[in-house]
Amino acid sequence: MPSTPNSASDPAPDNAGVSDTVLSVRGLTTAFNRRGHFHAAVRHVGFDLQRNETLCLVGESGCGKSVTALSLMRLLPGRRQCRVSGSAWFDGQDLLALSEPAMTRLRGARLSMIFQEPMTSLNPVLPIGAQVGEPLVFHRGLSRQEAEREALRLLDLVKIPDAARRLRQFPHQFSGGMRQRVMIAMALACRPDILFADEPTTALDVTIQAQVLALLNDLRQERNLSLVLITHDLGVVASVADRVAVMYAGEIVEQAPADRLFARPSHPYTEALLRSIPRSDRDVGELRAISGQVPPIHRMPAGCRYAPRCPVAEAACLDATPALAPLPGDPAHAVRCRVRNPAAASEGRIGHA
C-alpha cells in the first residue's frame, strides 16, 4: 500500500505472511552531478510491489522512470556522478545498501531487466544459444551443454519457432521482435522474482508490441513474477497494468490500481496525459497537448513541480511541496496534489526518507 507510513529508518517490512510484497521502495532519491552540484532526477519515490503483479511506471521522457529502475538495479555510475539514497527492501535486504558482489549475485538471477532497444542489446559476435544460456552458466554453474539445453527450452518458452536451429544463429539473423523475445528469455533464465522492463515494446511494430506484451503477461502469471513495466504509452498501461504509478519530474504524482486510475484520474497531470492520447473507440473531443515543458533538473520549482504547467494551480501550490497522500475514502489511490486531495496539503511522510 502506498499509503503505509514507512520511513527509511524503519526495519525491513515483514514480508512473510502479512502481505506478499516482494519489493518495498521508500524515499528513493537519485541525484546526478551537474557541474559540481547534485540535482535529484528522482525524488522520494516509494512503492510496494506485490508478487505476481504488474506495476506500470508511466510518464513522459525524462521524468525519472528509467532512472528509478536503474537505481534499484544499481546500474548507475559511481558516487562521483550519481548518488542514490532511500531504501529498497527485497527478500530481507536493502538493495541500495548491499555490497557490489552481493548485488552482482542478485542481478540477472533474482532481479532482471530488459531494455528498450532489442536491436543492439545482444552481442553481435556470439550465437544466440550461448547468450541465452550464459546467465545459467554464470549464476547457476551449469555446464555449457546443460545451459544449451536450457536455452532451447527458454526459446520455446518465449515462443520462438524452430528453436533448435535458431540457437545456432546470430543476432543479425533475428528481427526486432524476436530479439526482444531472446532478451526476455535471457532475463528469465534464472527465474527472477522481479523483472524491470524499460519500454520493452517502444522500438517494435505495433502488432509485435501486442505479442510481446501478451508474452510478458503470460510469463508473469506462469512464473509468479512481479513485473515493473516502464512506459510512456498509456495504451500499454491499460492493457497490462495491475497498478499504475504516474511520474512527473522525478516524483510519483499519482498511484492507484489501474482501473481506478483510468476511471478517476485525480492529479491534473494524469488527467492531461489521458486527454492527450487519441482514442479510436470513442470521441474524446479535441486532443490537448500539455502546455510548457518539464522544468530542467537544476531549476525545479520550489513548490509543486507541476504547478507552472497546471491549469488548476493556486498560489499556495507554488510555495509548498504537496505530499503523496491517499484520497479520502480510497486508501489505495494516492495523489500528490493539494487542490484535488486535501490530505496532500501538508508535506507528509509518505515516501519520504
Binding site: T120, V125, F138, G141, L157
Partner: protein, 297 residues
C-alpha cells in the same frame, strides 16, 4: 549447484557447440581462398624449420674461406655469405629461432598488452589513466633501447629475448585494444550484460574480447616482422642469439655490409620474413572474418 528446473518443451538433445564452431570456422576459411594460401605458406615455413636438418644442403655454420660471397649457383642455391656459409641452409635453420622468437614474443605481447588495453578501456577513470600513462612512458623509449634495457636486466637467453621483445610491443597492443574497447563498452549489449549480473571479468573476456580481437590479430601479424627485426638488432649488439647460430634478422643485418656486392645475403632472408608476414597476414584476415558472424553465412 542444482540444475534449475525449467519449463515445458521436450529436450531434443542436439549436439554441443564446439565442433560446430570449428565447422563454421572451416566454412569461412573455405569462403576466403586467400586464408588457405596463408595457412599453407605458414605450415610450409613451420615444416621447413622442423625438418631443416633433412632439407639443408650444407651445415649452416660450416665456414669456407674459398667460397666467400658466392652468388647463387647449383651447389649453393642462394649463394654464400662472407664466411662462405650456405645462405639457403642458414635460412632453414634460422627459421627455427626466428619463428619461435617472432611468434612467441608477439603472442606474449598480445596477451599482456591486449588484457591491459581492454581493462583500461573497460574500467576507464583512474585505472585507464594509470595503465595508459605507464604505456605512454614505455612507448616513449625507442624500441631498441627498451629491449636492451630488459635484456640487460634479465640477462641474455632465448626466453629473456622473447620477454624483452614482448615488452616492447605490449604498449602498442594496449593502445590498439583500448580504443575499440571504449567503443564497445558503450553498446547496449554490455549494459544488458551488467543487468544480467555478469562480473566485469566475464564481460571483458566473453563479450568484449571477441569484438576487438579481429583488429588486434591483423596488427599482430604485421608486428611479427618487427619482432624478428628487433631480435636481429639485439643480436647485433650481443644481447640476442650468439653469432654462429643463424637467425633471419641476424642474416639481414650481416648482409647490409655487402648489400652492393652481394645483395642475396639480405634479400633472401628478407624474402623469408616477408613470406612469414604475408602468410600470417592472410591468416589474420581469415580469422577476423571468421569471428565476424555476418560473414559466416
Amino acid at each position: 549447484m542444482t540444475a534449475p528446473t525449467l519449463d515445458t518443451a521436450p529436450d531434443t538433445g542436439r549436439g554441443t557447440g564446439a565442433p560446430r564452431f570449428l565447422a563454421d570456422l572451416l566454412r569461412v576459411f573455405n569462403a576466403n581462398k586467400l586464408s588457405w594460401l596463408g595457412l599453407v605458406l605458414f605450415v610450409g615455413l613451420c615444416l621447413a624449420a622442423v625438418f631443416a636438418p633433412l632439407l639443408a644442403t650444407h651445415d649452416p655454420i660450416d665456414q669456407s674461406i674459398l667460397y666467400r660471397l658466392r652468388p647463387p649457383s647449383d651447389s649453393h642455391w642462394l649463394g654464400t655469405d662472407s664466411y662462405g656459409r650456405d645462405v639457403f641452409s642458414r635460412i632453414l635453420y634460422g627459421a627455427r629461432i626466428s619463428l619461435i622468437i617472432g611468434l612467441a614474443s608477439i603472442a606474449l605481447g598480445l596477451v599482456v598488452g591486449g588484457a591491459l588495453g581492454i581493462l583500461a578501456g573497460y574500467r576507464g577513470g583512474w585505472v585507464d589513466q594509470a595503465i595508459m600513462r605507464v604505456m605512454d612512458v614505455l612507448l616513449s623509449f625507442p624500441t631498441l633501447i627498451m629491449g636492451l634495457l630488459v635484456v640487460a636486466m634479465l640477462g641474455a637467453s632465448m626466453l629473456n629475448l622473447i620477454i624483452a621483445i614482448a615488452f616492447t610491443v605490449v604498449p602498442k597492443f594496449a593502445r590498439i585494444a583500448r580504443a575499440p574497447t571504449i567503443a564497445v563498452r558503450e553498446r547496449d549489449y554490455i549494459e544488458a550484460c551488467r543487468a544480467l549480473g555478469y562480473s566485469d571479468l566475464r564481460i571483458m573476456v566473453v563479450h568484449i574480447l571477441p569484438n576487438v580481437l579481429g583488429e588486434i590479430l591483423v596488427l599482430a601479424s604485421l608486428w611479427t616482422a618487427t619482432a624478428i627485426r628487433i631480435e636481429a638488432s639485439l643480436s647485433f649488439i650481443g644481447l640476442g642469439v650468439a653469432p654462429p647460430t643463424p637467425t633471419w634478422g641476424g642474416m639481414i643485418r650481416e648482409g647490409f655490409e655487402y648489400i652492393l656486392d652481394a645483395p642475396w645475403l639480405s634479400i633472401y632472408p628478407g624474402l623469408a620474413v616477408l613470406l612469414l608476414v604475408f602468410s600470417l597476414n592472410l591468416l589474420g584476415d581469415g580469422l577476423r572474418d571468421a569471428i565476424d558472424p555476418k560473414l559466416r553465412e
